[in-house]
């Protein structure tokens, strides 16, 4: 077994509250030591010793909301291409959404994903299965069997379940299996034909707006049902200050509730739509600056538990259209860390907390391995130069689709090496 020593690195491990200069020793697939104490341990014969002075090691990122085109949309992204993009972004685990064709709503599809991942992917792929068959919001899928097969959570992906009774039963039944129900909330009627945040800017552009209440109304319903059922509910992608308030109240009531936010809603606002830039057409839409600031605050104070990329590859055919006709979504695996680190660099969120939301917290929330540098755990880790600036360019991105919101953006914090179970899957 090979041994790698990352020497003199700044070690940031939220799972143990560690932020110190030390060494990380990887022995085979596992972490043997990580911390100050390991500095003087001395490397065994034949070990690869990497001088990491000035560099930082964090647990590999766990991106809990990733849309992949396989099966059914391989021209947009495959499990293999997503994993290459993830590795380059310092992401060592992905929770894959069930919005595929066919939908991941039965055991055979979960097995297909895991098999394909085993054969082609370089990072960990954890499938989430649909809550309802065909994502149509009516009949529950086989939570028990799907969980046994390897589904780590249940979600209807981009879809919001309109029927409150279906949601109640899903929360109730999932509780028996200790499964989380992750849900994006956007009321289809209130959102109607909306394509961006409702407000003055949308009005001038002549685009139909999506009111904040379209997110809040079904969210409040879900939170009430989470209180009622005691089921584990995860508000997958909130974007508004009012949703933060609702989640915060539910948490205060002791409901088993968590929340996530897409990196775009932390980094950008509705003005970035500019003159109908379709790459900025997202669900939930980019909101006003006040909402973005509320997201940042909620990350800091813990109301929002995790940050996701909401990586959603779209090709030219679905994006080179008038704004209202274009598909929603943006890729994000490769820019997740750099964009998130803006919050660290400008002093908004402490580094330890930021890494927690990107790694430790999603691992805990979905019961996944990783999210820690604790000795004995799988060596899923990311070596990063927190200060190195880089400019995002479409041509440099590894994802099969190029619909990034960060084209030309200056990010600070570059991934130098990514390791999954002791194997280097990316090095700059």
């Amino acid at each position: 077994m090979s041994v790698t020593v990352f020497n003199k690195a700044r070690i940031v491990d939220p799972s143990r509250g560690v932020d110190e200069i030390g060494a990380v020793i990887v022995d085979g697939r596992r972490i043997a030591a990580a911390g100050k104490a390991a500095l003087n341990q001395g490397a065994p014969e034949g070990a690869v010793v990497i001088d990491c002075a000035g560099k930082t090691i964090i647990p590999g990122l766990i991106d809990a909301r990733v849309f992949i085109g396989e099966p059914g949309g391989e021209h947009r992204e495959t499990i293999a291409s997503a994993s290459v993009a993830a590795a380059a972004g310092g992401v060592t685990s992905i929770v894959m959404m069930p919005d595929t064709n066919p939908v991941i709503d039965n055991v055979a599809l979960v097995e297909f994903v895991l098999r394909t991942a085993r054969d082609t992917a370089s990072v960990n792929i954890f499938p989430a299965a649909a809550i309802t068959k065909g994502l149509d919001g009516r009949e529950m899928t086989e939570f028990g069997l799907l969980r046994e097969a390897g589904a780590v959570a249940f979600t209807d992906g981009r879809h919001t379940i309109a029927n409150a009774l279906v949601m109640r039963r899903a929360l109730t039944y999932a509780r028996d299996f200790g499964s989380v129900i992750a849900h994006e909330t956007q009321d289809a009627d209130l959102a109607s034909a909306g394509v961006m945040n409702e407000g003055l800017y949308a009005s001038w552009l002549g685009l139909s707006g999506i009111p904040r209440e379209a997110e809040l109304v079904p969210l409040e319903r879900d939170l009430a049902l989470a209180r009622l059922t005691g089921g584990a509910y995860h508000a997958a992608k909130i974007s508004t200050a009012m949703a933060v308030g609702a989640v915060s109240r539910a948490k205060a009531d002791g409901a088993n509730v968590t929340a996530g936010v897409a990196i775009h809603n932390l980094s950008l606002n509705e003005n970035d739509v500019g003159e109908y830039r379709t790459f900025f057409r997202l669900t939930p839409p980019l909101r006003a600056e006040d909402d973005r600031l509320a997201m940042v605050e909620a990350i800091k104070d813990g109301t929002i538990d995790i940050i996701v990329s909401s990586h959603d590859p779209q090709d030219v055919d679905t994006k080179r259209l008038p704004f209202a006709d274009a598909a929603a979504g943006a890729i994000g695996l490769e820019t997740l860390l750099g964009a998130a680190l803006r919050l660290h660099h400008n002093g908004d969120v402490p580094l330890l907390r930021l890494v927690e939301t990107l790694s430790t917290a999603p691992a805990r929330l979905f019961g996944l391995p990783g999210g820690t540098l604790k000795p004995g755990g799988a060596a899923d880790l990311t070596l990063v130069d927190l200060d190195e600036p880089w400019i995002v360019s479409e041509s440099g991105l590894r994802s099969r689709s190029k619909n990034t919101c960060f084209e030309g953006a200056r990010l600070q914090g570059k991934v130098l090496q990514t390791m999954v179970a002791g194997r280097t899957v990316f090095s700059a």
């Binding site: 002549g206 003159e275 080179r320 008038p322």
Partner: protein, 321 residues
């Protein structure tokens, strides 16, 4: 034709919206349009200003009025005009806007006129083609030539627009005409009011440079101009307003409501009208109505816009990519 070289060069390659225009740009187009009116009133209406130039009308939404106005404008300037009828083209077979644009672009037109149901379509087209693009209406975004022809109609009847009170009434929410007019009228210093039920007002309307009113009596008070907007049938049967009857009762322009405005107030409508819905026939055909003048000014404004965009002085710089 009067000598155009005495007029300043129009500083834009496309006309995508009023938002891009300065007050001076607007006045320039109106001045040009004034001259074009006289051409249309001669018995010999054809000039050679745009002889040899190719104009393509690409209309994704049916619009007899606007399309024929652009067609006539082009023909009176001597251009070769081609109408792309979307219903019988490959667009119906699923070709994207950009693919269509590239195809048309390869035919080397000098100017493309586009009407499309989606906001931003004209701007998207302009990025992809090498010729001038005129927005003839994109979704609920802008309809700049309509606002210009409205301004020309008002200016010819009332003089400078500054300080005039203009009330825009009806479906502001879905109206590109309203948006372009609000911007243009504000640019020229008019006082703009909007009158509509709250369900037909866009979010943030109070920050769009208008005075909002929910009653015709209040909104029309002392107005110099009353602009009515068309209300689509599918929007007046319960979705945005409960019924035609109720809508007409509160927001339809009739003789009684018009009394609130100045005695010589102009009554305008971009057409096509729903008589008995947003406007009573007696008003539409009455002495204060300038609806027919608007149609005439439409041709003149479109001639002016095309002349300005295809100014031969600009051609010396060569065609851009």
């Amino acid at each position: 034709m009067t000598d155009a070289s005495s007029l300043p060069l129009f500083p834009h390659r496309h006309l995508l919206g009023i938002r891009d225009l300065s007050p001076a740009d607007i006045e320039l187009l109106l001045d040009r349009a004034d001259r074009a009116v006289s051409i249309s009133r001669q018995s010999e209406k054809k000039t050679s200003t745009l002889r040899g130039r190719t104009q393509i009308n690409l209309f994704y939404e049916a619009s007899t009025r606007t399309q024929s106005s652009f067609e006539l404008a082009g023909k009176r300037l001597g251009a070769d005009v081609m109408n792309m009828s979307v219903a019988s083209s490959s667009v119906k077979k699923g070709e994207t806007l950009i693919d269509t644009a590239m195809t048309l672009n390869a035919m080397r037109p000098d100017i493309l006129i586009i009407r499309h149901q989606s906001a931003g379509a004209a701007a998207l087209l302009a990025q992809k083609v090498g010729c001038s693009v005129v927005n003839a209406g994109d979704g609920a975004h802008e309809h700049p030539t309509q606002a210009l022809l409205d301004a020309l109609t008002i200016r010819r009847a009332k003089g400078p627009l500054s300080k005039l009170i203009v009330a825009i009434c009806g479906d502001i929410l879905h109206s590109r005409v309203a948006r372009s007019n609000i911007m243009l009228l504000n640019a020229l210093g008019a006082q703009v009011r909007v009158v509509a039920p709250s369900t037909l007002l866009p979010a943030g309307i109070d920050r769009m440079g208008v005075i909002v009113s929910r009653s015709m009596a209040e909104g029309l008070k002392d107005a110099d101009v009353v602009m009515m907007l068309r209300l689509q049938r599918e929007r007046m049967e319960g979705a945005f307003v409960p019924s035609i009857r109720e809508y007409f009762r509160y927001f339809g322009l009739d003789a009684e409501k018009l009394k609130a405005a100045k005695e010589d107030a102009l009554v305008m409508h971009p057409g096509p009208m729903n008589r008995g819905v947003e406007i009573a026939s007696e008003i539409a055909d009455g002495p204060q109505s300038v609806i027919q003048e608007q149609v005439e000014m439409g041709v003149a404004v479109r001639m002016a816009v095309m002349q300005a965009l295809l100014d031969p002085r600009r051609n010396q710089e060569g065609r851009g990519a």
